[in-house]
């Protein structure tokens, strides 16, 4: 009444949707990907005057161009997927484990220490066993410390796990300073003490292990009593207490699982791929994994697809920068645009927009 500009109806408003059938879910996401590619194409053309089709084919080339590239793609998927699997039980429990980066790194550090100090001194099969145990134990220690403090004194796990990342990075730096005799800070790879190579393919073992872990984690979360307890604690601690679940125990136990999986990721990364370590060995995957896990709605099977998407984008974007001599920022822009659309489409799956007057549904 007081405002003369006021029209007789709102321009549009949001309404929550009833759940959509699966094919709509799929269709909306497909549309999002197509739109993202179109928008990226426009941005590429405007910024670089390059033909977007060429740019996209360069991306595909970067990911699938040669046999080596395909193996490398799969290897990267395996590592990222492994870390994503690791953070998932914690996140399902609403325990914000932002420390996967550090947990992977100490897992790697444990592996490299075993390789360095026991390699050649004990029989190889025993070396492998010690390596596996050491990396898992290191990951567990790094994850359980914040969990125990959370369970006993209700400390903030986000801050705690984040800080543990820095401790891990510094620990690796200290290790390199101490044991790299040349002073270059670069540790010479020790492939002779790495995980065994099967089928003549150096990445095959990693890929198979992670495939197995994916199935195991899926079963653990969905079909075991412990997985059920994780869901209950995550949804409502009060409900968990009401049915007599020992919440503290579940928090600690779940982070043991989470840390162990991170430790394995460190093992695969160092023992199976790099055969050495640096402070950037984890390479931010501990944080990317959080996004992968959320995008897949904590479902390990969906995670295979979300990991593929992320790794494909990274690989493709790298290729663009090389092929067209573009700054690496361009690849970040493309990755950003595509993720924006994919995450943004979730909104349209949950809400619909009603435009006034016409009353018609709009996408």
């Amino acid at each position: 009444m007081s405002n003369p500009k006021k029209t007789h109806s709102a321009l549009f408003h949001l309404v929550k949707r009833a759940p959509l059938p699966w094919y709509w879910n799929l269709a909306v996401r497909a549309i999002a990907v197509v739109l993202a590619l179109v928008v990226s194409a426009v941005v590429i053309t405007l910024l670089t005057q390059k033909n977007p089709i060429e740019v996209y084919s360069s991306m595909l080339d970067g990911a699938f161009g040669t046999e080596l590239r395909i193996w490398s793609l799969l290897q990267n998927i395996a590592i990222l997927l492994c870390i994503s699997l690791a953070v998932t039980p914690a996140f399902m429990m609403r325990f914000w484990n932002c420390g996967a980066e550090g947990q992977v790194l100490v897992g790697g550090l444990a592996t490299v220490s075993v390789m360095m100090f026991l390699g050649g001194k004990i029989p190889t099969p025993l070396l492998m066993v010690v390596m596996v145990l050491a990396s898992i134990l290191a990951g567990i220690i790094w994850a359980v410390l914040p969990a125990v403090c959370k369970a006993l004194w209700n400390t903030n796990e986000t801050l705690f796990t984040l800080m543990m990342n820095y401790v891990a990075i510094q620990l690796v730096a200290f290790f390199l300073k101490l044991f790299v005799k040349s002073g270059s800070g670069i540790l010479t790879p020790m492939p002779q003490y790495g995980l065994p190579v099967i089928g003549g393919q150096s990445y095959l073992l990693n890929i198979l292990i992670v495939a197995l872990l994916t199935i195991l984690v899926y079963i653990y979360l969905k079909y075991t009593k412990q997985g059920y307890e994780i869901s209950v604690v995550g949804e409502s601690e009060n409900t968990a207490r009401y049915i007599g679940v020992n919440v503290k125990k579940v928090i600690i136990r779940t982070l043991v699982v989470s840390g162990a999986l991170c430790g394995i990721a460190g093992l695969l990364l160092v023992g199976g791929t790099n055969h050495t370590i640096s402070t950037t060995t984890a390479g931010g995957r501990g944080f990317t994994a959080i996004m992968v896990s959320w995008l897949a709605k904590f479902n390990p099977i969906y995670m295979v697809f979300t990991t593929f998407l992320i790794v494909f984008l990274q690989k493709g974007a790298q290729q663009i920068s090389t092929d067209f001599r573009l700054p690496s920022a361009i690849s970040d822009i493309i990755t950003g645009i595509i993720l924006f659309f994919i995450i943004g489409c979730e909104f349209f799956l949950q809400y619909k927009i009603l435009v006034a007057k016409s009353g018609k549904e709009a996408k």
Partner: protein, 513 residues
């Protein structure tokens, strides 16, 4: 009294995710009139009012004020049209005084002058007969005082149309009478009052007209003086329902749970329970009455092993072994391991009793998933139980794999009560089991409680509707501020007697114990 139309709704429709909360609702409210909006829970009363108050925006339809079409997009728009709503859950800042809360967010282009504002608050209070201290802090106030602050808040902003959402749910009978007197005075002053309620006797006592909603649609407007409670119920439910609860005589009651001298404090050292003693007997329904937040929840949680107890005993007489067990300082697991068959329907259904995002089958497992040595879950038995409960209690759900939070309040409660009863309890505790349920579902729950009583279960029922407590319970324990203020016989006690006990804070000698 001029009978001009203050507000009119035409064909207002609002849907949430495909479900119509309101469908083509037409309604008029006159100046100087009290209109009751009557309807079962989930019939769309609050949604409809929220659209007038600017919380929701209608999908279609028109709203007219004084004959002119208006658009209300926010609570501020609503205030510009002199509409004020008093919500069920108060929206006040605890550490502020009454006056500070009242003028909070007000933009009247005047200087911030607490003293002047306080005087205006007092003037409003005098005009309508409120009783309020403008300097008092919210956290020092009783529920009824907080409600007064909310009402003055909208009057201060010059509201002519007041909407009250279930204002009496948290009040004692005496406070309710006081509120009604104030509302009647406002009516004489020419204000329009819309009151949402599902208590029939209040509708009859207060309103001029009644608008009845069923499943989001208006099913009729009647003049209060020309109707009866039975007619209104029929309109509301769509069929004739009997409003009587059967109450059988307890069969061989024995003391099942003996609580003596229970004390509880919260983290800040505030006393939650003060020397609570009572006995729950088998084959009997023990009602617990009291103003909301008087310690009912803590008492039940203490018995269930969820609340730390400072002092006192809770002795359970095991009917199977004949042993006596003290439940104090035991976890829910330890209580179960003792063989105590204690079922508990907590007040907070989705926050405690059930997990909203899980489906019905997984919710059935909450109590029983540990059974067996296998590390894997066994979903067959829970699924059978889920199907049985859906069938026996007529739960409306697409199937047993529907997440519980998607069901209506009544169906959620049927799932919870069904599961708790399926455990064949010897003690069944239910906190506000019919809160938010429609009449039909409420009576289903009363019948279930009665059935359990006839099976020899000691039932403890925390309720808020005194009429129901008086019809259902064999004995009624009244608590006020964490202390037992009296235990009365459900067959002879009166509402006034219980109302008085509710406001007391010390133990009184009850007449019937």
């Amino acid at each position: 009294m001029a009978n001009n139309v203050a507000i009119e709704l035409k064909n207002v429709t609002k849907a949430f995710g495909g479900n119509f909360a309101n469908r083509n609702v037409n309604m008029t409210v006159n100046r100087g009139e009290i209109l009751s909006i009557l309807g079962e829970n989930g019939s769309g009363k609050t949604t409809l009012m929220n659209m007038i108050a600017g919380i929701y925006f209608p999908d279609s339809g028109q709203i007219f004020i004084d004959g002119k079409e208006v658009v209300i997009r926010s609570p501020k728009d609503a205030f510009d049209h002199k509409i004020g709503m008093i919500h069920q859950h108060f929206k006040l800042v605890d550490v502020f005084s009454a006056t500070e809360n009242i003028i909070l967010g007000l933009q009247d282009e005047k200087k911030y002058n607490l003293k002047e504002s306080a005087e205006k608050v007092l003037a409003i209070s005098r005009q309508y007969g409120f009783d309020i201290d403008p300097q008092k802090k919210i956290h020092e106030m009783s529920v009824s005082e907080k409600q007064t602050v909310e009402i003055i808040k909208v009057l201060y902003r010059g509201a002519d149309i007041l909407i009250l959402d279930e204002p009496t749910a948290v009040l004692t009978p005496q406070e309710t009478q006081k509120l009604f007197a104030v509302l009647r005075r406002m009516r004489e002053d020419g204000k329009s009052i819309i009151i949402i309620t599902h208590k029939l006797h209040e509708v009859m006592a207060l309103s001029d007209r009644v608008d009845v909603l069923r499943k989001g649609e208006s099913v009729g407007t009647v003049i209060t003086a020309e109707t009866t409670e039975a007619e209104l119920t029929e309109l509301m439910v769509g069929q004739k329902v009997s409003l009587n609860i059967e109450r059988s005589e307890p069969q061989n009651p024995v003391d099942r749970l003996v609580v003596t001298g229970l004390d509880c404090t919260d983290r800040d050292g505030v006393k939650l329970l003060n020397d609570v003693s009572f006995t729950a007997r088998s084959g009997e329904i023990l009602g617990i009455a009291g103003i909301a937040g008087s310690g009912q929840r803590e008492l039940l949680e203490a018995i269930a092993g969820l609340q730390h107890v400072d002092k006192g005993e809770m002795i359970y007489n095991n009917p199977k072994t004949g042993t006596q067990d003290n439940l104090r300082d035991k976890t829910p697991m330890q209580i179960r391991e003792l063989g105590v068959r204690l079922s508990f329907v907590p007040e907070d259904r989705l926050g405690m009793g059930l997990v909203g995002n899980m489906d019905i089958v997984d919710n059935m497992m909450l109590r029983s998933y540990r059974k067996g040595k296998s590390i894997f879950l066994e979903r067959k038995a829970p699924k059978d139980l889920a199907l049985r409960i859906i069938e026996d209690l007529q739960v409306v759900t697409p199937n047993e794999n529907t997440p519980v939070r998607r069901l209506s309040g009544g169906n959620i409660q049927k799932i919870l009560v069904g599961r708790e009863i399926a455990a064949a309890p010897t003690v069944l505790m239910a906190a506000y089991p019919v809160r938010g349920l429609d009449i039909g579902a409420s009576y289903t729950i009363y019948n279930l409680l009665n059935e359990q009583k006839q099976k020899g279960v000691a039932v403890i029922f925390v309720g808020e509707d005194l009429d129901v407590l008086l019809e259902l319970c064999d004995r009624i324990m009244v608590i006020g501020s964490g202390a037992v203020t009296g235990i009365v016989d459900g067959r002879t006690a009166t509402k006034e007697q219980i109302g008085l006990l509710m406001t007391k804070t010390t133990k009184e000698e009850a007449d019937h114990e």
